[in-house]
């Protein structure tokens, strides 16, 4: 004999925790007398139990970053402070700024190409900046990366004889980024990051390598005497696998 729809509704409401006290008593009385009702209840409990047990999934690690990068820019950027302004505002970074200045002085006397061609100058741990954020205009070029392993943006700006590569990325695993440029008159001139650690950087003439994981914001400063045209080729690697390649171009006003 089919179960009265009223009791089917009550069984469902009971399982959902939305049954009224009076109805609960009526349901209990019905179930006590009906083996079919009890079987139906057990059946429904099994189904809802399986539905409740469906595993929740973690969104892709870079999704949040992709979303943040896809929303329009804040109307009052200056009020909340840009990345570079933030770097200047940080007391800790002011202290480390002098360290960077020292490092830059060292680099400026190494070899004719400003940085040794043979040595791999490990500048890991340098934090700070010597660029004036007020002098930085809009990005001259910008790329978006939307790989599963790494996502975000990289922009290229200029400030006089300085080029600034601004990295705003998130990586789900440790990745290497290689930034290469052919113009040997351009030289590495500093590195800054919002965190005091997290991104490792190594530089040699015409090539800078970064190792990063997680959400990172950092900038690299290149000295571009003569404001020359240049192209910076970026390669994103996971081990030996190339995840993504892109280029940033600066069309300078110089020679």
């Amino acid at each position: 004999m089919a179960i009265d729809q009223k009791y089917i509704d009550l069984i469902n409401a009971d399982i959902d925790g939305e049954i009224r006290a009076a109805d609960k008593e009526a349901l209990a009385a019905f179930l006590a007398d009906s083996a079919e009702g009890r079987a139906s209840q057990a059946d429904m409990q099994q189904l809802t139990g399986a539905l409740d047990a469906l595993e929740e999934l973690e969104p892709p690690p870079h999704l949040r970053h992709v979303i943040m990068n896809s929303i329009p820019p804040e109307p009052r950027v200056r009020q909340s402070g840009s990345f570079l302004s933030t770097l200047f505002a940080s007391q800790a970074l002011r202290y480390t700024g002098s360290f960077v200045a020292g490092a830059l002085l060292v680099m400026s006397v190494v070899g004719s190409d400003r940085i040794s061609k043979t040595a791999f100058d490990d500048v890991s741990g340098l934090v700070g900046t010597i660029a004036d954020p007020e002098a930085l205009g809009p990005a001259n070029d910008k790329i978006a990366v939307t790989q599963n392993e790494v996502a975000g943006t990289i922009s290229l700006r200029s400030a006089g004889s300085m080029l600034v590569l601004d990295f705003d990325l998130v990586a789900s695993e440790e990745i290497d980024i290689i930034a290469a440029y052919r113009d040997r008159t351009i030289w590495f001139n500093g590195f800054a990051q919002l965190e005091s650690s997290g991104t490792r950087v190594s530089a040699e003439t015409g090539r800078i390598e970064f190792k990063m994981e997680g959400k990172r914001r950092y900038a690299v400063f290149l000295h571009n005497e003569g404001d020359r045209d240049t192209q910076i080729d970026l390669k994103f690697m996971s081990g030996n696998e190339i995840l993504h390649q892109a280029s940033l171009t600066y069309g300078g006003a110089g020679e």
Binding site: N12, D43, L51, E74
Partner: protein
């Protein structure tokens, strides 16, 4: 569910505060992604829909009625976007029916993992309207009243839609030998 400080965050979002938006994103990214995934049964589609949902939220803060709860607004957008996605891609049938048909025969007993996979596949065989109530009830943990608020339907309709959805799921699981 909506946190008490959602309203403050939304006020800041309306003023263009990206940090506030990121806080909302942090809170709702996972439930939105999971709801989209259960509606679409594809991680890639769920990712795209999640992105669209948050963009729509960002662009439409101005039209959000502050007297309503934020979660009901964002979940409604999520379900609508998922259904639009299905409509556009015309995916209501073959692909997932095929997945459901991969269920084992009645003579075989399914393990917990297979039941879960069978259930996911069975979910894709029922109409999106029915799937939506299942997602809201069993994944998002919404009450009848909250489901009604999100879908803008009376509570009575929520109940009948939910019971029908369960019955359809049971039938499908029986058909594929999973229940």
């Amino acid at each position: 569910m909506s946190k008490p400080d959602d309203r403050k965050l939304i006020e800041r979002c309306i003023r263009g505060d990206r940090q506030a938006f990121e806080s909302l994103l942090l809170q709702y990214e996972k439930p939105v992604y999971n709801a989209a995934y259960r509606m679409l049964h594809s991680p890639e589609d769920a990712r795209d829909v999640t992105q669209t949902v948050f963009l729509k939220v960002y662009e439409n803060f101005g039209s959000f009625d502050p007297s309503r709860r934020f979660f009901s607004w964002i979940y409604r957008i999520t379900l609508n976007e998922s259904i639009n996605w299905l409509d556009k891609a015309n995916r209501l049938t073959s692909l997932d029916q095929e997945a459901a048909d991969k269920g084992r025969g009645p003579e075989q007993q399914a393990g917990a993992e297979e039941i879960s996979k069978g259930l996911e596949a069975a979910l894709m065989t029922i109409k999106a309207d029915y799937r939506a109530v299942i997602v809201l009830k069993h994944l998002m943990g919404c009450s009848y009243g909250e489901i009604g608020e999100i879908l803008e339907i009376p509570e009575k309709t929520v109940k009948s839609r939910l019971f029908t959805a369960r019955q359809l799921l049971k039938d499908e699981l029986n058909r594929t030998g999973m229940h």
